[in-house]
């Protein structure tokens, strides 16, 4: 019954039921029904991702502006420059696509695609609402981390192929950084997985029906996750691969037009994914007050984390590359091992 529900997930299930009824009535094979179902979800997801990117870029501009005593875009589109990002996107589309003279043309072309596709695929297993998940895989979280580690490759490809010393340094830095911070990132989430006993995203959300993991001993894991997650998406204070004042623009210095747009988009979608995982794993995902639709609750928490990341970005200075490694390997990694130990004891005691 659609009117009784407040949740987008229930609406989706209701639609799927109608589709199944319709297909059964027409005698359409199961394969086609399945394809239509997933295809519709994929299209919805793509629309959502593009809208998210637009909103995030606009939000970043506004948040940074207000932190810096500015207003940010104010004119384009009328109300507080809401369409500035759209205008910027059109500008990016129309720009000349420059490939440096001695660049490795093929790798240079492929790198933006390699960075963008995994960041899209990560959305597959994010539970937006009850039942509203692309594929509720039993290895859900591993898929996301698997995809996000491909991003390293693309940044490295982009840095290497551009045939520029700054991009090369940026690429090498990012390879070192993302590999080092992937460990604490995964280990911090391990605490939650141990508590729940499942890698499935829906199980993890359901386990937080009563209390968010943020308010349990998993709090330490949350802190580690936020730090490592910031490093994973290359945002200040860990924006070493693109360190503007040192490496001009880092690995994407030689990119322009749509290809640069892809790098930028993937940065924002990655930010969203990292925040969405934080919301799912530590803040109860779509769990929330019963009067609030699950997706609103989920997006609210996600955007809260996004805001936190932006706050970091516009107030913190940047780490130095070797100190960053020290911090990751000598502090964050032992801390996340300690976290696992602590959670293990906690889980045992609770039993």
């Amino acid at each position: 019954m659609i009117y009784a529900s407040q949740s987008l997930g229930d609406l989706w299930v209701w639609l799927l039921e109608r589709l199944a009824e319709f297909c059964g009535w027409l005698g359409i094979p199961e394969v086609i029904r399945y394809s239509v179902e997933k295809g519709a979800y994929a299209i919805g997801l793509l629309v959502f991702i593009s809208l998210t990117a637009l909103v995030l870029i606009y939000m970043e501009r506004k948040v940074s502006a207000h932190m810096q005593l500015r207003y940010g875009p104010m004119w384009t589109g009328g109300w507080h420059g809401w369409s500035q990002t759209i205008a910027d996107m059109i500008k990016l589309l129309l720009k000349e696509d420059v490939i440096p003279d001695k660049a490795d043309r093929w790798v240079h072309r492929v790198a933006p695609i390699v960075v963008f596709v995994p960041s899209l695929l990560g959305f597959l297993v994010i539970p937006f609402d009850k039942h509203l998940i692309g594929a509720d895989l039993n290895v859900g979280i591993l898929i996301i981390f698997g995809f996000s580690s491909i991003a390293v490759l693309s940044i490295f490809m982009g840095g290497w192929a551009s045939n520029n010393k700054y991009t090369l340094l940026g690429g090498l830095r990012s390879a070192a950084q993302m590999i080092s911070y992937e460990l604490p990132l995964v280990l911090s989430v391990l605490g939650v997985i141990m508590t729940v006993g499942s890698l499935k995203m829906s199980d993890i959300v359901m386990a937080q029906k009563d209390v968010w993991f943020l308010f349990t001993p998993n709090f330490l894991g949350f802190i580690i996750y936020i730090i490592a997650g910031t490093a994973e998406v290359n945002r200040t204070p860990f924006d070493i691969p693109e360190a503007e004042s040192e490496l001009v623009s880092g690995y994407n210095t030689e990119y322009s037009g749509l290809k640069y747009g892809f790098f930028m988009l993937s940065e924002f979608t990655n930010t969203f994914i990292i925040s969405a995982i934080a919301a799912t794993f530590f803040m109860g995902g779509w769990n929330g007050p019963s009067w609030l639709p699950g997706i609103v609750s989920f997006l609210g928490k996600t955007y809260l984390i996004v805001f936190l990341l932006m706050w970091f970005r516009w107030t913190f200075p940047r780490f130095r590359v070797d100190r960053l490694m020290d911090f990751g390997w000598k502090f964050l990694l032992p801390l996340s091992f300690f976290n696992i130990l602590m959670i293990a004891v906690w889980v045992l005691v609770k039993k």
């Binding site: 940074s64 932190m67 810096q68 005593l69 500015r70 010393k165 700054y166 340094l169 830095r173 200040t236 204070p237 924006d239 070493i240 360190a243 503007e244 004042s245 040192e246 490496l247 001009v248 516009w314 107030t315 913190f316 200075p317 940047r318 780490f319 130095r320 590359v321 070797d322 100190r323």
Partner: protein
């Protein structure tokens, strides 16, 4: 070449940092030889902004040279003006009226605050924190507004004259400065919370690019750079020009001479400058702003070296007069130029990320380096 390079057969990488680079503060070109991220050799290549100021000065009258001096260190033009007028005044034995002296000092100290604010903002950007820049510029804007009310210009003031200053203070200036000082003092604390004591910021700057006392003297550093190394050298105290001897102010010094000390010396200097301005405002009394000076300025033949404590260090002008309306020789000792020299020594062995931290901390202006 480092040991690893010799043993492995890998090559050094030459990186041209600048002249088009976001954090070389203009058009400085650094030739870096690097072993991975570690710098083995650094060579500053200057001259991209060379305008031949000293030669130009020989073809301009003494008065017109004040306008040229605005373009040396263009973010502290008042101090440049100060240096440009002291020489001819001494040669001609002009006694500058008291009011003009105090006005000059207020202007120079406000300019020191403005210059250090730019340092604070851009240094934040160098280290990777973008936000402090806008806070610094908010306050600097007020100083520029005050300047604009006096001389109509916001960057190249051309305000000092041989024998005084070009215009008297407008009515709203003194209350404006008082209001600014009152507003500015708490802001210094805000800067400290925003950047100075940030753990990441301290991690990037403490112990980086340290200059020992001996090195600082050997390389003829001046200004905040030498004071950060623990040597209390300030021309306002050592060789008081104008009426600086009447004022009560401290000279902030550092201890280790690292980037953080250089940064903190400048932050502390801002509050000392505010103190000087307050005292000068109290002593300011109505009176003349120009001494009686001949229309055509012809200093008697002779030579003289005068120097002022500019925000960046010792700004000296060595001028030779042959008794004509134009200087025979006009040598400028720009503090940025002299301070820049030590960079090649400091950078060796540091990481590329430290280049911007060190370069930012010695606070150069390319307009003064190249002239």
């Amino acid at each position: 070449m480092t040991e690893t390079l010799k043993n492995t057969g890998f090559e050094e990488m030459t990186l041209n940092m600048g002249p088009q680079h976001p954090s070389t503060h203009g058009v400085l070109h650094l030739l870096l030889k690097m072993d991975g991220e570690v710098i083995t050799e650094a060579r500053p290549d200057i001259g991209y902004l060379h305008r031949g100021m000293e030669k130009l000065a020989e073809k301009r009258t003494w008065g017109a040279n004040i306008a040229l001096s605005d373009r040396w260190d263009y973010i502290a033009s008042m101090s440049n003006n100060f240096a440009a007028v002291l020489g001819p005044e001494k040669l001609m034995n002009i006694a500058v009226p008291k009011r003009a002296e105090y006005i000059r000092i207020i202007m120079a100290e406000l300019n020191r605050i403005a210059s250090h604010l730019i340092f604070f903002g851009t240094y934040g950007i160098d280290i990777g924190a973008f936000t402090p820049f806008f806070y610094a510029f908010r306050e600097r804007e007020m100083i520029l507004d005050l300047y604009e009310s006096v001389c109509g210009a916001r960057l190249t003031y051309n305000y000092f004259r041989i024998g005084g200053v070009s215009a008297d203070l407008p009515e709203e200036f003194v209350p404006g400065v008082k209001a600014f000082i009152k507003y500015f003092r708490p802001k210094l604390k805000e800067y400290d919370t925003l950047l100075s004591t940030n753990p990441i910021f301290m991690d990037r700057t403490v112990g980086v690019g340290a200059i020992s006392k001996e090195e600082a003297v050997d390389w003829a550093l001046s200004g905040p750079n030498i004071r950060a190394s623990g040597i209390s050298f300030d021309i306002r105290k050592e060789d008081p020009y104008s009426v600086y001897s009447e004022f009560d102010f401290n000279i902030p010094t550092g201890k280790n001479g690292d980037c953080w000390d250089r940064y903190m010396v400048r932050m502390n200097e801002m509050s000392e400058s505010a103190r000087i301005i307050e005292q000068a405002l109290e002593k300011l009394e109505p009176g003349d702003i120009m001494a009686k000076v001949a229309k055509v300025i012809r200093p008697p033949a002779g030579e003289i070296y005068t120097h002022v404590e500019a925000p960046k260090g010792e700004l000296g002008v060595y001028c030779i007069s042959d008794g004509s309306t134009m200087p025979y020789r006009y040598k400028v000792r720009g503090p940025s130029f002299v301070n820049l020299a030590i960079l090649q020594k400091m950078l060796r062995g540091l990481k590329i990320a430290d280049v911007v931290a060190v370069l930012g901390s010695i606070d150069i202006v390319l307009g003064e380096v190249d002239r």
